[in-house]
């Protein structure tokens, strides 16, 4: 008898404990900034699963297609999110993409540089542009919105003017032949895990071309970069001192300064981060297309910011997540490609993008109020 009652007692104790834990875990989850984007992504997949489940959108080829688009946006969205958490904007991301493309193409094609040197040159320019953006914002105290808006025009204009001056046109083709045997370009231009697709093809599990090779040949480099950046950025935010400084710099610049956080250096490094991310984006695209276009990346800065906002970043800084931005990018990429598989006119994509962002901002605002209100 006694043993029985004891066991019941301990069982109820255990249950209570378990329940407490569950509640706190749920609350923990609700407090995470990426929750909205995660939910949104799940809804988007359910939606397309229903309306486009049998159209080939979710074939290997289709999945890689929308993953590639999401990943490209995600690379810059993650960097934009980090900067937004640090309390600043970068509107020059799109122009930086165009500028970086030209920085690779002109030296490689017109000056005879090896491709790897051109790529390093482009990244060096990105660091310079980012540093310049950052130092201008930190030193003048002007809103980064204005400073980087100016940089948006300056970079785009310079890209056009320089390209036309040197080449007489606005596009620089002919890069594809240079990729082979280049010691650096493969990082930005190689499809990986090809064996998986070859194997799946041999098992007749995925669609094959008429010559017997699979339609989807491998994971595009953008997806690998995207995943690596998402993990790396999340690790920085959650696990490092620098991550704490990013939150602090964006949350309260003066407070952070008063306790010894080098706010200026943190912000400058984040501006360098967005410019470098834009250059990764540009390098992947330029090598994929084999040509650079002066107009490449137009309006990408706004899409990146939209993805970051959907991912839970506050426009006022100090709150957000890199994973959230990654989900935000996944939502946009999936919808922008998925819409082709439905009967909906693709013109509606921008409407969706805008509505999504509006909902996200309202949701984030509510969360912020909940987090900051006193007992």
């Amino acid at each position: 008898m006694s043993t029985k009652s004891k066991s019941i007692e301990s069982k109820t104790d255990f249950n209570q404990d378990e329940r407490l834990k569950k509640v706190s875990k749920l609350r923990l989850l609700l407090n995470r900034p990426e929750l909205g984007a995660l939910g949104g992504a799940i809804l988007v997949f359910i939606f397309f699963g229903i309306v486009a489940g049998d159209t080939g959108m979710f074939s290997a080829y289709g999945v890689l297609n929308f993953l590639d688009v999401s990943a490209n946006l995600g690379i810059i969205a993650i960097a934009a999110a980090m900067l937004m958490i640090g309390g600043e904007f970068d509107l020059s991301i799109g122009s930086m993409i165009g500028f970086a493309g030209i920085c690779i193409a002109i030296p490689a094609i017109y000056w005879g540089w090896p491709l790897w040197m051109s790529i390093i040159f482009a990244f060096s320019m990105a660091v310079l542009v980012g540093y310049f953006n950052g130092i201008l914002v930190v030193r003048t105290g002007l809103p980064s919105f204005i400073v980087t808006l100016a940089m948006l025009f300056i970079l785009r204009g310079a890209t056009l003017a320089i390209t036309r001056l040197i080449t007489g046109r606005t596009q620089v083709p002919g890069l594809r032949v240079l990729i082979e045997d280049d010691p650096l370009a493969w990082i930005f231009a190689t499809d990986t895990f090809k064996w998986i697709f070859t194997w799946l093809g041999s098992m007749n599990l995925i669609t094959l071309r008429t010559d017997g090779t699979p339609l989807a040949t491998g994971i595009p480099p953008s997806v690998i970069w995207f995943i690596v950046l998402a993990i790396f950025s999340t690790w920085i935010l959650m696990k490092t001192r620098y991550g704490n400084w990013i939150f602090a710099s964006g949350g309260d610049k003066n407070g952070a300064n008063n306790v010894g956080v080098p706010v200026g250096r943190v912000k400058i490094s984040l501006f360098i981060g967005t410019a470098v991310a834009a250059t990764i984006f540009a390098t992947i695209q330029v090598l994929d297309a084999g040509s650079a276009d002066t107009m490449r990346g137009t309006l990408k800065e706004l899409e990146a910011i939209a993805a970051a906002v959907v991912g839970g970043c506050l426009l006022t800084g100090g709150y957000g997540s890199a994973i959230g931005a990654a989900f935000g990018a996944l939502i946009f990429g999936t919808v922008s490609m998925g819409i082709f598989y439905t009967d909906v006119d693709t013109d509606w994509f921008k409407v969706f993008l805008g509505a999504m962002m509006l909902i996200a901002v309202i949701f984030n605002n509510f969360i912020r109020r909940k987090v900051t209100e006193s007992k």
Binding site: S24, L28, N31, M238, K239, T240, R241, G243, N244, W245, F247, A248, G251, D252, N254, G255, A256, N258, V259, G260, V261, L314, G318, Y319, R368, V371, T372, E373, S374, K375
Partner: protein
């Protein structure tokens, strides 16, 4: 070795032709709470910034533990153990208690290149420290924004003490708080002093200062009106000194005259 933990002797500070501070002297022993009282514009902010190392005094000397020192920067003051808690508290309301507690001074673990923020250790210390003040933190990862004003003030003070403050300079710690919250903070300040810290409590609220202070310095128009141990001065006397008692008396006379003339 001097009997005083910290001495500010004849501190003066000029901004161009403006005399912001003139010959202000304050001496604190361990465990002492000195209240610095003054109305708006009395020079409190300038004095705080001088104590904190933001301004360099133009005249006078600062002696910490018997040694004459010059603060070139706020960091110098901090290194000497003089910690200033400003009104804005340097807390980020969107960040967790732990992340705020260790902001700028995060404990690290791991090998050289892969050093990471030791969040478990930080959580433990933060919860422990908040527990000591009597604030039960169920979850140190909850945002500071969810805490009350008094709790935030206590967190900022507790942080300063944890990072080695010997002298606490508190800028209006109770001004934004209700009666109950203010008393919680004041209690904590007394407790901190009892542990051997010297506290400079800057306030314009005599009712908050009088119960906790050991001595009182009244500042008026940049000059010290003197320092009085508690036994030598009453609350009413302090009030009238601070408000510029003469001025209020004059005002009363003037008002009476106005009444009389309007009655006529």
């Amino acid at each position: 070795m001097s009997e005083y933990l910290v001495q500010f002797n004849n501190i003066s500070k000029f901004f161009g032709k403006v005399i912001a501070l003139k010959d202000v002297t304050m001496k604190l022993k361990k465990g002492e709470i000195m209240c610095l009282l003054g109305d708006n514009g009395a020079g409190k902010s300038t004095l705080i910034k001088t104590l904190a190392g933001v301004h360099k005094p133009d005249e006078g000397e600062i002696i910490v533990e018997g040694k004459k020192t010059i603060f070139d920067s706020p960091k110098d003051a901090l290194d000497m153990g003089i910690a200033t808690v400003y009104q804005d508290l340097a807390l980020v309301s969107l960040m967790s208690i732990t992340r705020n507690f260790f902001m700028g001074r995060e404990p690290m673990k791991g090998p050289l290149i892969f050093k990471t923020f030791d969040i478990e250790k930080a959580n433990k210390i933060a919860a422990e420290r908040m527990g000591q003040i009597g604030i039960d933190v169920r979850d140190p990862s909850q945002a500071v924004g969810t805490m009350s004003g008094g709790e935030r003030q206590c967190l900022a003070i507790s942080r300063a003490i944890y990072f080695g403050a010997k002298v606490l300079v508190l800028d209006e710690p109770t001004s934004a708080l209700g009666v109950h919250q203010a008393s919680v903070v004041l209690k904590y300040i007394v407790k901190a002093a009892a542990q051997g810290l010297a506290v400079i409590l800057i306030t314009h609220n005599v009712h908050h200062a009088y119960p906790v202070g050991n001595s009182f310095t009244v500042l008026n128009r940049g000059k010290s009106l003197g320092t009085y141990p508690k036994k030598d001065i009453t609350r009413e006397k302090l009030l009238s000194m601070m408000a510029g008692g003469e001025e209020l008396n004059k005002l009363e006379v003037e008002l009476q005259e106005m009444n009389r003339s309007s009655a006529n």
